[in-house]
């Protein structure tokens, strides 16, 4: 295209392993990533729900944010770095427990979501005052630039571009991980712990993007291939591509940034208002607070909902949503076929009056109005381990 330079695609340290496993590689967020392996999306999806799937998510951005105002290792230091990040996100970070993590969002001054991210407070006493942050691949440069410009000298941002990220998801994940990192199986949902493995420091977080129990493991680049091979050596573990990652997260009702969330959409509209902490609702003090607090009080104009088409035809991103009487009320933001559901599923935004579960809708697919209805999310129940 004119005026657009073709940049060479980046690769993760597992590129060679993906090729040796027969992956079909595609461009994603500037990276060459596996979209599927020879088993294909459907089998990979079902395997993850039945056993365990291994995902390379090393394209995501990892960083450490550290206070410069207090000595590391004190509650005061945690309070300071937490207060700093709380100027960008609406979450309760100050009261996060040691070793605990939160899903949160970076907000624009207008209250739109600039990205969604994970923020983790280290477990170790000596590391208090530092936060471990994981952001989306496509947004990482912008996110890190925003943190640096808004937080200035108050914090130091260290981008961990020497670390890879793996996700192991599914009912077998905990057993597989615990055999390699003893103790990890006892971690509860949304906690992180450090482990030593073959001389490398790994961070294992009990979280994921499939709705299944599982882990995301941050591994130094020079150890990640050996660690991935160790996981794949278990008979329950199969490599899973981005295709199944997308169908799994859709069934789990989880947002994909740039599709279900963007800089115009508020967390209230996105039906992720759980990211706004109780104290933050009382105090405000986050970007876009006036809009967001107003939407919390009065309800947003539109809302993200789960949508179940009645027939078999998938309704994909961009499909117009109409009321039962044919009025345009919104658009599908993620849609496709749910292998575990065994039929089409979607998420999209509708005007608030049409957001109640059970509301009849029409989806305009290839010029035809297909009947659908608003349903509760997720489509497949979450199986997080809460101890």
């Amino acid at each position: 295209m004119a005026g657009k330079e073709a940049k060479p695609l980046k690769r993760t340290p597992l590129h060679g392993l993906h090729l040796s496993l027969g992956a079909k590689m595609v461009e994603f967020a500037g990276y060459e990533m596996p979209v599927q392996y020879p088993d294909g999306v459907l089998k990979e999806h079902l395997h993850t729900r039945q056993k365990a799937g291994l995902f390379d998510v090393s394209h995501m951005g990892q960083a450490f944010l550290t206070t410069t105002r207090a000595t590391l290792g004190s509650d005061e230091a945690h309070g300071d770095v937490a207060s700093a990040i709380e100027s960008l996100v609406p979450g309760e970070i100050r009261k996060l427990k040691k070793g605990g993590m939160r899903y949160s969002v970076l907000l624009s001054e207008k209250g739109g979501v600039l990205d969604d991210l994970m923020i983790t407070r280290p477990a170790l006493d000596g590391e208090q005052g530092m936060l471990f942050i994981v952001v989306n691949a496509a947004m990482k440069d912008a996110d890190f630039a925003l943190m640096q410009s808004k937080l200035g000298e108050r914090t130091k941002l260290e981008i961990a571009d020497d670390r890879s990220l793996l996700a192991l998801q599914g009912p077998s994940a905990a057993g597989v991980i615990d055999a390699i990192l003893p103790g990890a199986g006892a971690q509860t949902f949304m906690t992180m712990r450090k482990y030593n493995w073959n001389g490398a420091v790994l961070f294992a977080s009990r979280c994921g993007y499939t709705g299944e129990d599982g882990f995301e493991i941050s591994v130094p680049d020079d150890h990640v291939e050996a660690f991935a091979k160790k996981l794949l050596a278990h008979p329950d573990v199969a490599p899973i591509g981005l295709g199944a990652r997308d169908s799994l997260r859709l069934e789990a009702g989880l947002c994909l940034y740039g599709h279900d969330l963007n800089k115009e959409i508020s967390p209230v509209e996105g039906a992720i208002d759980f990211v706004i902490g109780k104290r933050r609702r009382e105090e405000g003090g986050f970007p876009g607070a006036s809009r967001i607090l107003k939407e919390l009080a009065e309800g947003p104009a539109k809302l993200r909902v789960g949508i179940k088409p009645e027939g078999r035809a998938p309704a994909r991103e961009g499909v117009e949503i109409q009321s039962a009487d044919g009025k345009r009320i919104g658009e599908i933001t993620s849609g496709g076929f749910g292998p575990t559901v065994g039929g089409p599923i979607a998420m999209g935004y509708v005007e608030k009056a049409y957001a109640a579960t059970g509301t009849s809708l029409q989806l305009m697919v290839r010029g035809k109005a297909l009947p659908a209805s608003v349903v509760e999310l997720p489509f497949v129940p979450h199986t997080y381990y809460r101890g």
Partner: protein, 123 residues
């Protein structure tokens, strides 16, 4: 019996003035697991290269084009009921439609099996 192929990865097999039409093994493999098929009803007429059917995999929707001009005389309802059969036997039992050929000479410009296989090699 002659089978002809298009660059859009459809195949056409003429049986007594009626063209049986489907998608190739290569197309089915590239699409991946097919989860939905939409076919035209009998009686519907298409021009060559007109959008005739839709196949959807978990990943994406794809149009299937009419490789010849003509009128649909029969649609294969069994692939609508069992879309996965298109992956299993795309050039056999999982045909899409039968069409009455309006212009049999359209077949002349299409590839034979050897030419199509060579074309796929270049992709």
């Amino acid at each position: 019996m002659t089978v002809k192929y298009t660059k859009e990865h459809e195949w056409v097999r003429v049986e007594g003035g009626v063209a049986v039409i489907g998608i190739t093994e290569h197309a089915a493999g590239a699409l991946g697991d097919i989860v939905f098929v939409e076919l035209p009803e009998a009686g519907k007429a298409f021009k060559q290269n007109g959008e005739m059917a839709v196949v959807e995999s978990v990943k994406a929707a794809s149009d299937v084009y009419a490789p010849v001009t003509g009128e649909v005389v029969e649609a294969n309802g069994s692939i609508v009921d069992d879309p996965a059969s298109v992956n299993a036997d795309p050039e056999g039992a999982a045909w899409f439609v039968k069409m009455k050929l309006a212009n049999p000479s359209e077949l002349d410009a299409m590839m034979d099996k050897a030419a199509y296989d060579a074309f796929v090699e270049t992709l």
